[in-house]
């Protein structure tokens, strides 16, 4: 039976592209290029919508929970942070307050929610080092544990996080990675960072299946779930959820907030204790087990491999353009343009077109996240215009070289 319940949740809002693609004036400043690339009006609109449905009530809920002894690992992308700073300072204040609570541990997330680790591993190390300082500066807490975009983990990413100085990292506890092992123990590959494996099934019971009336576990009650957690064999259960699980993926009327508020009490009733990811490392590092890490990465998205992001021709084309955009920006040597290229590496730009030419649950998830305004362009129009954004950017940099 597991002893500790470790909850981790991550907040992210993409910096959505402006579709249809805008021509970029030759010689445009980085600010004006950004204006052409990103649809900030749309980003503000979505932030405000999600804040109302999710961020505000969920933050209030987590605040109450941690004040009553619950512990939480909290990550957030810089993409979200800059939106909250720009458009919802009140929300940011409430999140700052939550982060300040001793029962909340700040987890360092790859700041751009990007595939930078694919394109430039050295800069990935530099950015992961930078974000630790940046989060401390902005939110007052220095992270010890790291997460990457979409919880990507692979052999090289592990060593990059080690180079960035992290004590711990998270990965999705997929069977193809763990093989005969359970996700309920602490692992390592080369001593540090220690590895916390997200309990894929128990996490998705809440994050993914909670409101699915066709699921045999529906309706999921807090006492039932607490029982499942307690019954898991091992030292602890580490669950990871999108913050948007609460109120956005599962609307308020599904009972998700009542479920979450009830959960700590039910877990305690089962004899469970709470720990943050960092505390779990302190508690269990003496008996951490070796976990061989795969060379192909694992992710918490889709079926657990990179195919969720690179399975169709449209995604592969954008992935190529991401490389070209980044490389071209490097050639300019201008930090502001390189910064824009890193924003263009956002994994969301691949995630949002996973549905292209595909059917099934994963495609439905992908289509759910595609901005509804884009559908006016039609499926082919969406993938074409996303590519055009990258092409415009690459061409616009001619003037900067």
């Amino acid at each position: 039976m597991s002893q500790h319940f470790i909850a981790y949740t991550v907040i992210h809002q993409p910096r959505r592209l402006r579709l249809p693609a805008r021509p970029i004036p030759a010689g445009a400043s980085p600010e004006d290029i950004a204006r052409c690339l990103f649809d900030e009006e749309m980003n503000q609109r979505y932030l405000e919508q999600v804040a109302q449905k999710c961020y505000q009530p969920a933050t209030a809920m987590f605040q109450d929970m941690v004040e009553n002894g619950f512990k939480l690992g909290l990550g957030m992308s810089l993409s979200f942070l800059r939106q909250a700073e720009q458009w919802d300072p009140e929300l940011l204040a409430s999140i700052r307050k939550l982060v300040a609570h001793p029962n909340v541990e700040m987890i360092a997330v790859e700041p751009y929610h990007s595939f930078l680790f694919y394109v430039d591993i050295r800069r990935f190390v530099e950015r992961m080092t930078w974000v630790r300082d940046e989060l401390e500066r902005r939110l007052g807490k220095r992270p010890r544990v790291s997460d990457t975009t979409e919880m990507f983990m692979a052999n090289d990413i592990y060593f990059a996080l080690r180079a960035a100085g992290y004590e711990g990292a998270v990965l999705d506890g997929r069977e193809w990675v763990l093989q005969w092992r359970e996700p309920t123990y602490l692992y390592h590959y080369r001593q540090r960072p220690y590895l916390l494996c997200r309990h894929f099934r128990l996490s998705d019971d809440v994050g993914y299946r909670f409101s699915n009336r066709g699921w045999e576990g529906w309706p999921l009650r807090a006492d039932t779930y607490a029982h499942w957690v307690r019954e898991a064999q091992g030292d602890f259960v580490f669950v990871g959820w999108d913050y948007e699980t609460f109120g956005e993926h599962h609307w308020q009327d599904t009972g998700i907030f009542e479920f979450a508020r009830r959960l700590p009490e039910e877990l305690r009733a089962c004899g469970m204790e709470f720990a943050t990811p960092g505390e779990a490392i302190d508690l269990y590092q003496e008996r951490a087990h070796h976990l061989p890490l795969p060379e192909f990465p694992t992710t918490w998205a889709g079926s657990g491999g990179v195919e969720f992001f690179l399975s169709n021709g449209a995604q592969q084309a954008v992935f190529q353009l991401m490389h070209h955009a980044y490389n071209k920006a490097l050639l300019t040597g201008q930090p502001a343009l390189i910064d824009l290229a890193m924003w263009l590496l956002q994994s969301d730009n691949l995630h949002l077109i996973q549905w292209f030419g595909r059917l099934g649950q994963e495609a439905e998830v992908s289509a759910y996240f595609t901005p509804r305004e884009w559908w006016e362009l039609g499926p082919v129009g969406i993938v074409t215009e996303i590519q055009n954004v990258y092409k415009q950017f690459i061409r616009a940099l001619d003037a900067a070289i």
């Binding site: 402006r18 249809p20 805008r22 021509p23 970029i24 004036p25 030759a26 010689g27 445009a28 004006d32 204006r35 052409c36």
Partner: protein
Amino acid sequence: MEAWDLIRGETAADLLPRLPPEETEFLILCFEGPDSYSRVGGLGARVTELCRALAESGYQTHLVFIGDPMLPEREVSLEGRLCLHRRCGWISRYYPGGVYEGEEAKVADYRAEVPGYALAEIIRPAVAAGRRVVVMAEEWQTAAVACDLSDTLYHAGLRRRTLMLWNANSAIGFDRLDWPRLRTTQAITTVSRWMKHLMWEWGCNAIVIPNGIPARLLHPAPRVERLARALRQQIPARPLLVKVARWDPDKRWHMAVEAVAGLRKRGVPALLIARGGNGDHGADVLRNARAAGLRIAEVEGEAADPAAVVEALVAAAPEADLLNVQFCLSEAALQVFYRAADGVLANSGREPFGLVGLEAMAAGGVVYTGATGEDYARPFDNAVVLETDDPREITAAALELLAHPEQAECLRREARETAARYTWDRVLPLLLRRLRYLAMVEGWEQ
């Protein structure tokens, strides 16, 4: 008493929707406008004068255009009735070459920005003040914007408080338009019957509302007449032809040049004053002129003072058959040329309306028009209407008028009378009549 009598006179007029200035605002969407950055040709002149005429008639009028990025975003004149809204300034700063440089970027930005801007800054306040808004969008660049604005207004519950018209001043960009959407959301208008027929090909029956000219063109300053006389006296015994048009094959520059060469070949020492502006076609035209034996002189100078312009032309004339004017000509300088010339060659092959021809007629010029959109031109009554692209047709007409100066005088007189029927204060009532019909179709109450 018959029922008919009951609705005669004012009673009948009361059955139509009214568009009084105190209850109506106009919003014009156009790329071109009054700034020199924004004026390329007839469209700039059209919207500038149309807006001014509406405002002078008492209507609150807004022009949303691609303005000079160095000028204020908003500028009010005519006691607050005319408001210029300069948009896309951040893009225009990268394109100092004028309104159409960086056109695609401007089209995208204008489309993205203007519907929301127009709703928030113009239409919503107007409706809140109890007024209705007539939206007139010009040319292909604004077609999608007009459609988007229609949707925006619909969602805001304000569509029925607006009349929306999209006007074609030329056929440029027709292949890019979403015609079904445009037809659904806008009343489609154009400037001539030729354009109307052309637009049948695109499945729409446009309403013709002609272009206008400012009334002041009929009453040029006294020094215009004086300078025109001076120009004639200082270039004696040489038939003077003038052509002001873009360097564009549609403007039939080659025809004009070859006509001058034809006159010279017949011993008539004609002189062509040419103002072509920008465009690659200009090089072809000048090469052709030289090959036809014409001597070309480039005329540099300042546009501001018409007397200086005349002086520069006179100085260059003895050694030239074609004076290539290298600077923009002011309205006064143009009036001098139109008045002084033996012929103004507005001989376009395809002309949606022919504003230059009408402006020249207002100055009492002998105008050679093409035979497409110039509804105002009547052959050898108020103008020379060219039916072919054969330069000999110009040569023949010029020789005839040189031989019969009294005919030329008749043409000049009729031309001015015709132009007087196309001043904006004469065109506006027609526009308002069309709008009342459209308002009735929209279900506006009187």
